[in-house]
Symmetry: C2
Subunit: 322 residues, 2 copies
């Protein structure tokens, strides 16, 4: 059995784990990211964490085949971080720095791509080899796995599923464009849609759920109120699912995945979200009578997906050569 280390650099924590070649996460630990401390401090923490978690797993570095790192930003196939805005990194040769320090091969991937790979190796997509993962959070992230490998495109940066134009001329998006899918289907967008509906409907039960404080609205509030049969909340949820399903239908027509894996806290709504979402996707996919759309299912690994996927970067690349 070969062992791998996966590192997921998040905004809050750096999570590090030892993973076997079947994608089982054997041990993990995490340290605060503290990006403001600068690159050297982060790299030192990552090196220390790798050594610590390998030790906790009862192994030594010589038992580790490679280290994979999921980076919140764009990376090159050669292991350079082109840019990671939240870390303040630009053109950082991270694979070389970490490889020199650990004496191991180091692979880099985008964090959303790594999460998608993790779910396909060991999570919701473990019965298939090709899946599209979409995560609704502050923005919309995602990755596309084809035949067990990250689809990185010709430039190596993978798919960017949040910024195709979904409503030309519509809501301003954080990226500077108008009408991006992210501006309609992220958790942030749902919260904005909810607040607007509340302002227009002072009688909505949603006001009671936040004790009259609109700043306390989160992505759960409209669902909770919809389940209490609040008409305003039901309309917000129905509109949101229509946005989400229509956008995903376009991705299905583009990518034809075997499976859609959905991540993010909104998925905790379970069947209340997933059943109408699947109906909406089917309704909007092109020629869905002849070409059955793939099922949309919830991710199962949570934050571990990023660690597992990062650890599996080497295995995934070997597979594709076979």
């Amino acid at each position: 059995m070969r062992y791998f280390v996966g590192i997921d650099i998040g905004g809050t924590n750096i999570a590090v784990g030892v993973v076997d070649e079947e994608g089982n996460l054997l041990r993990k630990l995490s340290v605060p990211t503290g990006a403001s401390r600068g690159q050297d401090a982060l790299v030192a923490d990552m090196i220390g964490s790798v050594k610590a978690v390998v030790d906790v797993a009862g192994l030594t570095l010589s038992d580790i085949a490679s280290v994979g790192i999921g980076v919140p930003g764009a990376v090159t196939p050669e292991g350079v971080v082109i840019r990671a805005v939240n870390l303040g990194w630009k053109n950082t040769p991270l694979a070389q720095i970490m490889g020199d320090a650990l004496g191991l091969p180091v692979y880099l991937g985008n964090d959303a791509d790594c999460a998608a790979l993790g779910e396909v190796v060991a999570g919701a997509g473990s019965n298939c080899s090709s899946a599209l993962m979409i995560t609704m959070g502050t923005g919309i992230g995602g990755g596309f796995i084809v035949n067990g490998r990250i689809f990185s495109g010709c430039t190596g940066q993978g798919t960017e599923p949040g910024h195709f134009t979904f409503l030309y001329g519509g809501e301003k998006c954080g990226c500077g464009k108008r009408g991006c899918f992210e501006a309609y289907a992220s958790a942030t967008a749902l919260i904005r849609q909810t607040k607007r509906a509340m302002e227009q409907n002072p009688d909505s039960k949603m006001w009671a759920l936040v004790d009259g404080d609109i700043d306390r609205v989160n992505g759960k509030v409209p669902f909770d109120a919809a389940k209490l049969d609040d008409g305003t909340a039901r309309a917000v949820v129905a509109q949101y699912i229509d946005y989400l399903g229509m956008g995903i239908a376009g991705m299905v027509d583009s990518f034809r995945p075997e499976l859609i894996i959905m991540g993010g806290g909104i998925c905790n709504q379970g069947d209340y979200l997933m059943i109408p979402l699947n109906e909406t996707i089917r309704k909007y996919c092109y020629a869905s009578d002849e070409i059955a759309p793939p099922p949309a299912v919830r991710a199962t690994l949570g934050n571990d997906a990023g660690i597992i996927g990062a650890a599996m970067l080497q295995v995934s690349q070997e597979k594709s050569k076979a």
Copy 2:
């Protein structure tokens, strides 16, 4: 040198050609499609045309490695036409029927995918191995080639670039949905946009170009009038290029191709279209400062792309195994 036959089943004509393994079209001929005559008559014509073109090329069927057919509809990897609406075909085992009649292996592909493959083998994309082709015609067609092979997705039907939602809740599309990209960026859409602008602007020079008959508007009229500095036409063209460029930017963010190949009569506008289109794509691509968008260029093979791509189906599949 191996030889192949490619067949492109179009709405008006069935075009058949002999192609060498480098993608050179040696001889071609075409016969009227006459789809209303029914499947048996079409198949008989295709068989006769294959024999005739092989003969004209100075070859015999024993010199032909395989026959490839580009079908206007969805096909399976096993060679069945799932559905081709304009031919009235459904679940037709075309590869088997043609293979039995000719004693040769027969490969099927979608016609837009075959055209994309043809352009990558022998046309605008002959210097690259991965390209996205978009054709603006009655609708929007296209295909995505990765490493010299048609990207067919898990279901085998390839990408459908005309029906992602581009303006949620917008124009009614022929597919039944609202706001599809096709409803804003096809040649049909441009003609509709032109007619509306003319109706609102009786002083536009476009009226003179069609001798006052709005039914004579085609995709060339707004460009011709814009070049005469007609303000209405200039606005129509600018808006159309904005639609087209923004939609393509979303595809670039999804697929990260090396090259965008543009087909359809509108591309005859040359630099007058392509220069602002490339600027628009760059403006709207995500993070285009860090990840340079691929160039958008005109297709070079015209209708021959479909014949050549169909003929190359076998070679393309062999390549991907290498």
